[in-house]
């Protein structure tokens, strides 16, 4: 009894918290959204029933476009296969209903499952490809589905297509208006889910993988897995839209699924604006405007409307691309935003201490070697990184410093040698290493340019989250919400530590040095034990160098083990406890800077033999 009461009480508290969050997040634009949805739901009252089927068909197609927006917008995957996935969903449904005589619901579930499986398989098969090849493979997939459907009449019912029995639920026939309301609900949910996901954990991880895959991997983002997931989700939504679409049409037409449909949906997403949840719907509305225009002109001039539609769609897309390609909706929004200039604050480091590093451990590398063809980039390299010490790695250009760092963080696999932290051996890719607290930054400036400063740091802070999966995030479970707060706290702390105080500023607007600080903040937000920095001081002014050196001092004192690759020896003298000198992949000297500077081998490496002779 008391346990039940306790559970009830907790539920009430959580619901109240959720309500508070919803109220806090509520804005005039949310009111507008809700009103738009209500208005759309009331359309059947004014539109004659005869027109509802067309409208419902449009919304189902728009649902598939929103689904494609998940892959294209969130993850930047150029999928040209959405028409194929629609076709797979539609014909699975049609075959089960028309030929096998299954009832509505089971066949719907199977159709969705089959499309999801097709999406997962395609995602796995193309997961490691460069984007260009993803586009080609999905394009070929669209052609294959079209050919399968059109040249095998036994499967697809030939030119007449497959005719479905009437759609009934609990004995009632589903009217076009019913379909419209179902479609509207589904698309509203899909848009809402996208809007919830995009600025939170899973969406940020996808955006990070899209904007800078190497940097995302370096922060421990499971790039491949999240891309596969979003691709499969995108295909699944298409399958759902396709299956419900044939229920509405009552007939499955084999020639209507394929490359042309894939192209139209892709264009809809880009035309309307891939990054905004509503973009694909706007894009598809524009395309169907082209269709009506083509029918008008075609009827008037005696021209084939299908061709005119292709032409208008092509020209419309080219027009948007010629104007910069941001899409209609983002263009409208940035025009609106540009009328209200944002306020900027300068960056200065806060007077605060970083938190102590929990269970600090030394990182030990033994005998690391790495060859690229005949070039020996790293040759039997040993390194000890002690907690509470700054270790500088110096050496001439091309001496293997960056190779050493990339090998330590798992970006490169060494040919031989071991890396360990405490009792744990570090092997394989970056993610397990970042989880063990070994994190490195990229040599070039590598921020996620389309995200804000805070969102960049949140990508790092997302590493140790347990409840940040897509489902928990979409349903805003209490644990996910609580963790959101914790992650934001960590991200803001890391930002204020490095001195970035404008969390909502787009990362692309930062100066080169600020971007390096942001990379450092993102890395700190993962709560590392060992931090490896590749030229953190590049492009810094004298004052910025001072401030950075102070920060490194603080981090050292917090118990972090630090490795810094640096060319500026004055800066090295200021921050480093120990120095290791690399030359041609070999460690030629190690010790304090003074000891190292006195070393004959080092003098030779830096100054050349001629000057010494």
């Amino acid at each position: 009894m008391s346990a039940a009461q306790g559970a009830l009480g907790r539920t009430r508290v959580e619901l109240a918290a959720a309500g508070r969050e919803a109220r806090a997040a509520w804005s005039w634009s949310a009111t507008l959204w809700a009103l738009a949805f209500v208005a759309a739901a009331l359309v059947p009252l004014v539109l004659p029933e005869g027109r509802m089927a067309d409208l419902a068909g449009f919304v189902y197609l728009a649902l598939a476009a929103v689904g494609l927006g998940y892959a294209v917008g969130l993850a930047g995957i150029p999928s040209l296969g959405q028409g194929a996935f629609l076709g797979i969903g539609a014909f699975t449904e049609a075959l089960l209903r028309a030929k096998a005589g299954w009832p509505l619901l089971p066949s719907l579930l199977v159709a969705i499952a089959v499309t999801a499986a097709a999406g997962v398989l395609t995602g796995i098969a193309t997961g490691r490809l460069r984007s260009a090849f993803v586009a080609v493979s999905t394009w070929i997939l669209s052609w294959i589905v079209l050919l399968l459907l059109t040249s095998f009449p036994r499967i697809s019912g030939g030119a007449q297509g497959l005719v479905l029995p009437e759609t009934t639920v609990l004995g009632h026939t589903v009217t076009p208006t019913g379909h419209y309301l179902v479609a509207l609900t589904l698309i509203a949910l899909a848009i809402l889910a996208l809007a919830v996901l995009a600025p939170r954990g899973p969406g940020l991880a996808l955006a990070a993988g899209r904007d800078h895959p190497a940097a995302a991997l370096g922060l421990g983002v499971a790039v491949a897995r999240s891309r596969l997931g979003v691709f499969a989700a995108s295909a699944t939504i298409a399958g759902l839209a396709g299956a419900l679409g044939v229920e509405l049409a009552q007939v499955a037409d084999p020639s209507s699924y394929g490359p042309v449909l894939s192209f139209e949906l892709f264009v809809a997403v880009i035309l309307g604006g891939a990054r905004l949840p509503l973009g694909p719907v706007v894009g598809l509305a524009v395309i169907s405007g082209f269709r009506h225009l083509a029918e008008e002109i075609g009827g008037f001039r005696g021209l084939p409307p299908g061709r005119l539609e292709e032409m208008l769609t092509g020209y419309g897309m080219l027009l948007v691309l010629g104007l910069g390609g941001a899409g209609l909706l983002p263009a409208a929004r940035s025009w609106w935003r540009s009328r209200t200039p944002a306020v900027r604050t300068s960056s200065r480091r806060a007077e605060r201490e970083p938190a102590r590093v929990a269970n600090a451990e030394a990182l030990l590398a033994r005998g690391l070697s790495k060859r690229f063809g005949t070039l020996v980039a790293l040759d039997g390299f040993d390194l000890d990184l002690q907690p509470g010490h700054v270790h500088a790695l110096i050496g001439p250009n091309g001496s293997g410093k960056t190779t050493a760092l990339r090998t330590l963080v798992g970006e490169l696999a060494p040919d031989s040698g071991t890396v360990s932290i405490g009792a744990a051996k570090l092997e394989g890719p970056s993610r397990p290493r970042t989880l063990l607290g070994v994190v490195g930054t990229q040599q070039a400036t590598a921020v996620f340019a389309d995200l804000t400063v805070l969102q960049n740091a949140l990508v790092g802070a997302g590493l140790r989250r347990q409840y940040a999966g897509p489902f928990r995030t979409v349903f805003r479970t209490p644990k996910a919400r609580r963790e959101d707060g914790v992650a934001e706290g960590k991200a803001l702390e890391a930002l204020s530590l490095v001195g970035l105080h404008d969390p909502d500023r787009p990362a692309a607007e930062l100066s080169a040095h600020e971007q390096r600080l942001l990379m450092l903040a993102s890395a700190l937000a993962t709560q590392p034990r060992v931090l490896l920095l590749d030229e953190p001081a590049a492009g810094a002014s004298a004052a910025e160098l001072d401030s950075l050196a102070d920060l490194l001092d603080q981090l050292r004192d917090s118990g972090l083990a630090l490795l810094v690759i640096e060319h500026n020896l004055r800066f090295v003298r200021r921050v480093a406890d120990r120095v290791t000198v690399l030359e041609a992949g070999k460690k030629i000297s190690s010790g304090t800077l003074t000891e190292v500077a006195a070393d004959e081998a080092v003098r030779t490496a830096y100054l050349g033999r001629q000057r010494l002779s």
């Binding site: 040209l80 098969a125 991997l217 790039v223 264009v267 061709r307 032409m311 092509g314 691309l321």
Partner: protein
């Protein structure tokens, strides 16, 4: 035996066209990293422009056309093809390449394809067109057909094969032996370095986008009279050329051309294997599925790459 000869001749004739397309796809991919989705439709645009100038949009009788009018049509078609190919590259593809936006150039190449196809389709409204034949192959042999080892083959097929091989050789020779060709190779290996040593990179690349279209259009026009040509034919030819180019990973001109011939032969062979449960409905499907399988296999065997961009 007769079937084998039949398959080889028709396969090589079709494969020659695919091969020229594959050469073009490979060249463009190596120069820019772009998969040129508009290629097939650019060629269809050139072919139909040539038809428009030579014979108008009405039904054409195969014999009614003089060589002069035909050559004029072909010339206009080629010039427009090169112009449109180069201009669309500069306007819509290059800006996105410079930004490193794959989504951008995928969208623009597809949009160019559909704009061209829709435009041609709005002018040429019949389901299919018979192309005029200025060389009068039907006067040779028996209505243009000879019998070899019991197989009846079109004499035109040999002309198409020879022409395609000749143009592929010309492309390879241009690339390897001429100044312009070596410039293109330099751009392919390092565009920045090529720009640094003073090569007009933009102009050369833009011209290439048009020239590969012209090259493929010549072969397509030569082959067109042997079968009805539709507005969508260009896209299909392009697709098969793309399949060939993918199989050899956008390799050298010779490799791409050979792959095109292979795709043509495979298609002809599968079309004629009705007895083995295959047949024409598989002829287009199997090469596509094979290419997709090859891509997937390479992808799964490759190291997990951190750079999908």
């Amino acid at each position: 035996m007769s079937v084998v000869v039949q398959v080889i001749v028709t396969g090589l004739a079709a494969g020659g066209i695919y091969g020229i397309f594959a050469v073009g796809y490979s060249l463009i991919y190596r120069l820019t990293g772009v998969v040129y989705f508009a290629f097939g439709d650019l060629v269809a645009f050139a072919v139909f422009t040539a038809l428009l100038v030579a014979a108008g949009t009405g039904p054409v009788s195969q014999t009614s056309l003089g060589l002069g009018r035909f050559l004029l049509g072909l010339a206009v078609g080629l010039v427009l093809c090169i112009g449109v190919g180069a201009a669309t590259y500069v306007l819509f593809i290059e800006p996105y390449l410079l930004r490193g936006s794959t989504l951008g150039w995928v969208a623009s190449t597809l949009a160019i394809a559909f704009a061209l196809r829709g435009m041609v389709g709005a002018v040429f409204t019949r389901p299919a067109y018979v192309f005029p034949d200025p060389f009068h192959f039907e006067d040779l042999g028996r209505n243009g057909i000879v019998t070899i080892a019991g197989a009846s083959v079109q004499i035109r097929s040999f002309f198409v094969i020879a022409l395609a091989a000749g143009l592929a050789a010309l492309a390879a020779w241009t690339l390897e032996r001429t100044r312009r060709g070596r410039a293109l190779q330099a751009i392919a290996s390092d565009p920045e370095a090529a720009r640094f040593v003073g090569l007009p990179v933009e102009t050369l690349v833009a011209l290439t986008f048009g020239l590969v279209g012209g090259l493929a259009a010549i072969v397509a026009v030569a082959a067109a009279p042997s079968a009805p040509f539709t507005v969508d034919s260009g896209a299909l030819l392009g697709l098969k050329g793309l399949v060939a180019a993918l199989i050899v990973r956008f390799g050298s001109p010779w490799a791409a051309f050979a792959a095109g011939l292979g795709v043509g032969l495979a298609e002809a062979a599968i079309d004629n294997m009705g007895g083995l449960g295959l047949g024409p409905q598989y002829g287009e499907l199997i090469p596509l599925a094979f290419a997709l399988g090859v891509i997937a296999y390479r992808s799964l065997r490759s190291e997990p790459a951190p750079s999908p961009a």
